[in-house]
């Protein structure tokens, strides 16, 4: 039988993979994907806890997270395109133009 802990474990592993992705990848788009994974991991935990307590607040949080993730993608990908047009690369190391 599936219990709350199963969902929490999946959520935790997913979040860890997201953290690894953020630390490991140097491509901006992949960073986006990794942050999205982390947001989704939080979503699973919220939804599962909401079911566990029979409280709708968890689902509300998950819903707001989905909305915020969508707006993040809209603006972030727009910025990414502008950046690519200007610099011709998405490598994070090449973008360190402020370095003295």
């Amino acid at each position: 039988m599936i219990e709350l802990s199963h969902y929490l474990v999946v959520s935790g592993i997913l979040f860890s993979i997201g953290v690894v992705g953020v630390l490991r990848r140097k491509n901006l788009l992949m960073l986006f994907f990794a942050t999205e994974i982390m947001l989704n991991a939080a979503n699973i935990a919220f939804a599962a806890v909401s079911s566990y307590y029979g409280d709708l607040s968890g689902q509300m949080f998950a819903f707001f997270i989905i909305a915020v993730a969508a707006s993040e993608v809209a603006v972030g990908l727009g910025l990414l395109i502008v950046l690519y047009k200007k610099q011709g690369t998405l490598d994070l190391d090449d973008l360190a133009v402020m370095k003295g």
Binding site: L23, N40, L56, I66, A70, S71, I81, V82
Partner: protein, 168 residues
């Protein structure tokens, strides 16, 4: 039955995430992202949260991943254009340091209790109940999120228009 579905979904979720992090080709990463999104929707459906399921399908699968794949298409991200990724020892150590507390928390959570789900009430998580709660108890965050979305929309439009000004 439920546990079989859960494990299949969890498999897709985690393998999709691993595909994002470790695949060299960006298109495979996007496919992994798609798998994560769809498996997430499946998880919500398994928890009987039909509203979240729909939101995930319509927003996550229907829009977010499409936009990312569009980006890959339009800037032609190929394997050879990808930055080199060196796995240094410092990197690994740092990652472990960050993940260790999460893993500890997880172990604590598993060791804690059986955590069986209570039987789900009839209308829990349906669109009707969600709508009622959303427009009474959560109306202020809802409005703030709508303003955020509006701002994001205007921002995206401004960003994409700016290119035209530069050219002209």
């Amino acid at each position: 039955m439920e546990s079989i579905i859960f494990f299949i979904l969890a498999f897709f979720l985690l393998s999709g995430a691993i595909m994002i992090v470790f695949s060299k080709e960006s298109l495979y990463s996007a496919i992994g992202f798609l798998m994560v999104m769809i498996a997430m929707a499946g998880m919500f459906a398994l928890l009987h949260h039909s509203f979240l399921f729909l939101a995930q399908i319509l927003v996550g699968v229907g829009a977010v991943v499409v936009l990312s794949i569009m980006i890959i298409l339009s800037i032609n991200l190929k394997e050879e254009n990808q930055p080199k990724q060196n796995i240094t020892r410092k990197n690994i150590l740092f990652t472990t340091l960050i993940i260790a507390p999460i893993a500890g928390l997880l172990l604590y959570a598993i060791a804690k209790a059986p955590f069986a789900f209570a039987p789900i009430a009839q209308h829990f998580g349906t669109i009707e109940t969600m709508g009622k709660v959303l427009f009474t108890h959560w109306v202020l965050p809802f409005e703030i999120v709508s303003i955020l979305l509006l701002g994001a929309m205007v921002g995206a439009i401004v960003l994409s228009r700016r290119r035209l000004h530069v050219e002209s």
